[in-house]
């Protein structure tokens, strides 16, 4: 009780336990889906390749994450775009 009160006084700071929970959620998504590092790596490579056909992207900053909401997991791709490529790729 005093702990809760204390936390309120301090402005509801997030303790390290909460950080642990958030980090575990992410780690467990990967573990449960049983995606091997191999699969993830190939997906990463293929997506960089496809996107690079249309955009000049910063390949080093390309991020591939799996997020989970209540009912489903989603793949989130995040990449800085440097410029669009002109003309059709074909």
């Amino acid at each position: 009780m005093f702990n809760g009160l204390f936390r309120k006084v301090r402005g509801n700071k997030t303790g390290s336990g909460e950080i642990a929970k958030q980090r575990l959620k992410f780690a467990l998504i990967y573990d449960k889906l049983e995606i091997s590092d191999d699969t993830l790596r190939n997906l990463h490579r293929d997506m960089v390749e496809v996107i690079s056909r249309y955009f000049e992207i910063d390949q080093a900053a390309f991020r591939l994450d799996i997020h989970r909401s209540d009912d489903f997991s989603s793949l989130v791709v995040n990449t800085p775009i440097l410029s669009a490529k002109r003309g059709s790729p074909d």
């Binding site: 390290s16 950080i19 642990a20 980090r23 990967y30 049983e34 590092d37």
Partner: protein
């Protein structure tokens, strides 16, 4: 470079091998050594989450050993400490995908790239242990002051001697108050039973859990007694062999000492 390969082992699970590996590795890197820490627990990787690097894994130790990638590609650079690298375990394989012979070869590559290589050995004395020990020059045995842990440590020490490795002992999770009351094995008792050289004494410390919660290295947490103990262990491993071993003390005892110095009774 002609790096040293050190296996961190214990026999029993849950005594602090992974924390010890991450902390000693970080401390050595802070002493400007090039360090690789390797998670040898294939199928149950954890060193990555303890170090807060779980989102950066692309290649793993199985890929590196099998030649699927270069050593440099599998070594993930730490976020906070330069010269510290993690080679994570594979989560989807099992321990039999690697052999001790593979590891000896891999060890040669590692020695060329790093000053120190720390192998985080899985619990048990089966294949995972064999693989972790195969390339090692030295060993650190982590043991807590519990009968089960000491017994398993003794077994592992025997197996290491059989491989011509003379291990050193880290006693972890010491609760000084309990030792003083006589309710916990003291490090003296443990050294006596195991007859092995001591390399450090680590007190029980809440900062350890906070460190693994956040993925921030223990040795970077100010005021962490365990963090300080691991730093001294790293200094001893790194050549400061005459650095005295500090025995964890209770606050209570500290005030009593001051009291007796001032001549205030017992």
């Amino acid at each position: 470079m002609d790096g040293r390969i050190i296996v961190i082992t214990s026999g029993k699970g849950g005594v602090g091998k992974t924390t010890a590996t991450a902390s000693i590795g970080a401390a050595l890197a802070l002493q400007r050594k090039r360090v690789a820490v390797i998670d040898m627990d294939i199928g149950l990787r954890n060193l990555d989450v303890v170090m807060g690097l779980e989102n950066r894994i692309i290649f793993n130790v199985v890929d590196a050993v099998k030649g699927k990638c270069k050593l440099k590609q599998a070594a993930i650079k730490d976020r906070r400490i330069d010269d510290l690298f993690l080679i994570p375990a594979s989560q989807s394989d099992n321990k039999n995908v690697l052999s001790p012979k593979d590891m000896v070869q891999f060890g040669e590559k590692l020695r060329r790239e790093f000053d120190f290589v720390l192998m985080d050995c899985p619990a048990g004395i089966e294949r995972g242990f064999e693989n972790s020990v195969a390339a090692a020059d030295e060993a650190v045995v982590v043991c807590t002051p519990e009968v089960s842990s000491v017994r398993d440590a003794d077994r592992v020490i025997g197996l290491l001697y059989a491989r011509s490795i003379t291990p050193k002992l880290v006693v972890n999770r010491i609760i000084p108050e309990m030792v003083e009351k006589g309710d916990m094995l003291s490090h003296v008792d443990m050294v006596d039973v195991l007859s092995i050289e001591l390399v450090g004494l680590v007190p029980m410390d809440d900062h350890v859990l906070i460190s693994t919660n956040t993925g921030i290295p223990l040795v970077l947490q100010k005021k962490s007694k365990a963090g300080e103990a691991f730093q001294r262990i790293a200094m001893r491993i790194n050549g400061a062999t005459d650095l005295p071993i500090e025995v964890p003390q209770s606050q209570d005892r500290f005030w009593k000492k001051i009291g007796s110095k001032l001549g205030l009774g017992k």
